[in-house]
């Protein structure tokens, strides 16, 4: 139990918030808006899972927002040209993986610090996309929304997809050697190397994986409306990283549980609706979000006080 006290605390805060809303604003639980909100958060959950694995490996990726936008626009353009779903899905994931591979090559191959590399790629991708699209929306063919399913069906599919990714990764992080090795690399890369692992290849792989997940998340976002906004994804890296951190993932690597990340995503995603339902002024949103991140990390620090002063 103590091992999971961090994740349980986050879950506890989330449950508390949900209880408060149940009492003061039961409209929060209306099925249709709830379903819409969950569907909108599905891409964020996928991104948060991916970035949690990157952070477990002692790296960070702040370019995921820009990669998300690029993948979204690419999938929109492909869809508008009439390619079938399978092709667009494969292509988007591939594009994401390639972008992730660029990050990975620079970080793992050239041993450059990931925060600076992903800062550079974030800016290059964002400005490049803006230059190319000039803010124009992309109109999708009619059959594209919700994968051609009904609205309910589509929303359940999206939520199911994200949840599946979460479950698979969470299971894998306990039972699949490949993911468990990431924890080893994040804890002490040199020890991992001596133990026979190849930290550089694993780091490269985790960035490629992050890119692929970003492509998937972008597609899940694109099918939710008939137009693609090239500005989508702005600020998403902040949301995903904050959710991972609040959920207990350590930025110094080696520690983190995907169920905690799940709780983190839900908690941070509930702040804004909670403000609306509780009729609180919207300009408190950023301050509250910042306070939650600080509280989460302070809690971490107090819990892990080193014995040696």
């Amino acid at each position: 139990m103590k091992k999971y006290s961090r994740e349980l605390t986050v879950a506890g805060v989330l449950v508390l918030l949900l209880l408060v809303l149940a009492v003061t604003a039961p409209a929060f639980y209306d099925p249709q808006p709830m379903l819409s909100r969950l569907a909108r958060e599905a891409p964020t959950l996928i991104l948060a899972c991916g970035v949690a694995l990157v952070m477990v490996c002692r790296q960070i990726d702040i370019s995921i927002g820009s990669m998300f936008a690029v993948c979204g626009v690419c999938s929109g353009l492909l869809a508008a040209e009439g390619h079938p779903l399978a092709v667009v899905l494969a292509a988007t994931i591939l594009i994401g993986a390639v972008l992730g591979a660029v990050n990975g090559a620079l970080v793992a191959g050239l041993r450059l610090p990931s925060i600076v590399v992903t800062l550079a790629t974030m800016v290059i991708l964002r400005e490049g996309l803006r230059w190319q699209q000039q803010g124009a929306f992309i109109n999708l063919p009619d059959a594209w929304q919700w994968f051609g399913l009904s609205q309910r069906g589509g929303q359940f599919t999206l939520i199911g997809c994200a949840f599946l990714v979460l479950v698979v990764l969470a299971w894998a992080s306990r039972n699949f050697a490949g993911i468990r090795f990431l924890y080893a690399v994040g804890t002490n890369a040199e020890a991992a190397r001596l133990a026979g692992l190849r930290p550089q290849w694993m780091t490269f792989a985790v960035f490629v994986f992050m890119g692929a997940l970003t492509g998937l998340a972008a597609l899940l976002n694109v099918v939710q409306s008939p137009q693609v906004d090239p500005k989508s994804g702005t600020g998403l890296e902040l949301e995903a990283i904050a959710a991972a951190v609040v959920g207990g993932v350590a930025v110094s690597g080696g520690r983190g549980n995907l169920w905690g990340v799940f709780a983190g995503v839900l908690l941070l995603a509930s702040i804004n609706p909670a403000l609306t339902y509780l009729h609180v002024e919207p300009y408190w949103e950023k301050a509250i979000q910042g306070a939650i991140i600080l509280l989460a990390v302070i809690f971490d620090g107090l819990r892990n006080r080193p014995e040696v002063s």
Partner: protein, 342 residues
């Protein structure tokens, strides 16, 4: 014996000098100036140089104070948001609390120090990771600025004597440049000429080792974050004078520019090595690039992309020789790969 050796030594030293990071950056800067001078009719004028100085004063201040922070192995993502918060508090103290401008300015600097103190307490005292703490304060400070002004309130109609700080000249240079130079010299001396500065590097290299060596690590680290708060507040005042207006979204994105300039200038993001003059060159390189591309009639997005590319090139340039050396070295002589820090 000494003559040939000293010749060899001199050649080596010149070689080492030429390949130092700062030298390469200086060459890049000069190349930028030459190119834009050729392409843009008005690039090389004094007016334009003053423009570049005025536009990069606040961001340059943030980059300067970010240097010792990164040297200690930390980071501060909240400086841009703090600039916005200080700007509106400055306006509020002057307009709503009725304080005179000098008093309001001093109060703002104090508020900046307190805000930096929050970062300092969490990072230095509680030993929390700087990236996440300042990620939290990045949202918190901006959020407080929006909440205090409800997003809509702006502060304007400052007296001309105040606006001269940001818009007029003093003794030949734009007024804010004198403040910038003072802070630049101060931080340079702090980092390169005091034991404090040496201790920053020590802390960046090995915080535990520094602690065991008797350095008051917590106090030194706290100092740099509080200093960042004060400098951010100063930058906020200059910004307000330059724009003639204080708004809650002032300074959005400045922290990324500051980090880019510091890393471009050769400071390692992991801490331990770096220089203030490198940061100055980094600020100059980016500012000249942004300005020059306007004169070269290029769209603004190109400036962003080139800055990102320049950053990667600068990083890669210092790593590629190391990588090549490692590949060339016989396997059994090659040491273990360095432990990859975050």
């Amino acid at each position: 014996m000494s003559a040939p050796e000293s010749n060899h030594g001199t050649t080596r030293r010149i070689g080492a000098l030429l390949f130092r990071h700062e030298t390469v950056l200086l060459i890049v800067l000069v190349a930028e100036c030459l190119y834009f001078n050729a392409v843009g009719r008005r690039f090389g004028t004094l007016d334009n140089t003053f423009d570049i100085m005025r536009h990069s004063a606040e961001i340059g201040l943030l980059a300067l104070v970010m240097t010792p922070i990164i040297l200690t192995g930390g980071i501060d993502l909240s400086v841009g948001s703090l600039l916005g918060l200080c700007a509106i508090l400055f306006g509020k103290l002057w307009r709503d609390a009725g304080l005179s401008l000098p008093v309001a300015a001093v109060c703002t600097l104090a508020i900046g120090a307190c805000a930096g103190g929050l970062n300092a307490a969490l990072i230095a005292r509680l030993r929390l990771p700087a990236l996440i703490v300042t990620l939290g304060t990045y949202s918190l400070f901006r959020g407080l600025a929006e909440a205090i002004t409800r997003g809509v309130d702006t502060f304007t109609d400052f007296p001309d004597s105040f606006l001269a700080l940001g818009q007029k000249h003093f003794a030949g240079l734009p007024t804010q440049v004198w403040f910038f130079l003072a802070v630049a010299i101060g931080i340079w001396l702090l980092v390169h000429r005091t034991s404090f500065g040496r201790s920053f590097r020590a802390i960046g290299f090995a915080p535990e080792g520094a602690r065991f060596a008797g350095l008051p690590v917590a106090r030194r680290v706290a100092l740099v974050y509080i200093l960042a708060g004060v400098v951010a507040a100063l930058a906020a005042i200059i910004y307000t004078a330059r724009l003639g207006q204080a708004k809650a979204d002032a300074g959005t994105g400045y922290e990324l520019f500051a980090i880019t300039a510091v890393v471009l200038g050769g400071t390692s993001i992991f801490g331990g090595t770096g220089s203030v003059h490198g940061t100055l060159l980094g600020v100059a390189a980016i500012a000249v690039l942004n300005n020059g591309l306007v004169h070269a009639r290029q769209p603004r997005e190109v400036a962003g992309m080139l800055t990102g590319a320049l950053l990667l090139a600068a990083l890669g340039a210092s790593e590629i020789p190391k990588l090549l050396a490692k590949l060339r070295a016989p396997r059994h002589l090659a040491g273990p790969p360095p432990i990859s820090p975050p």
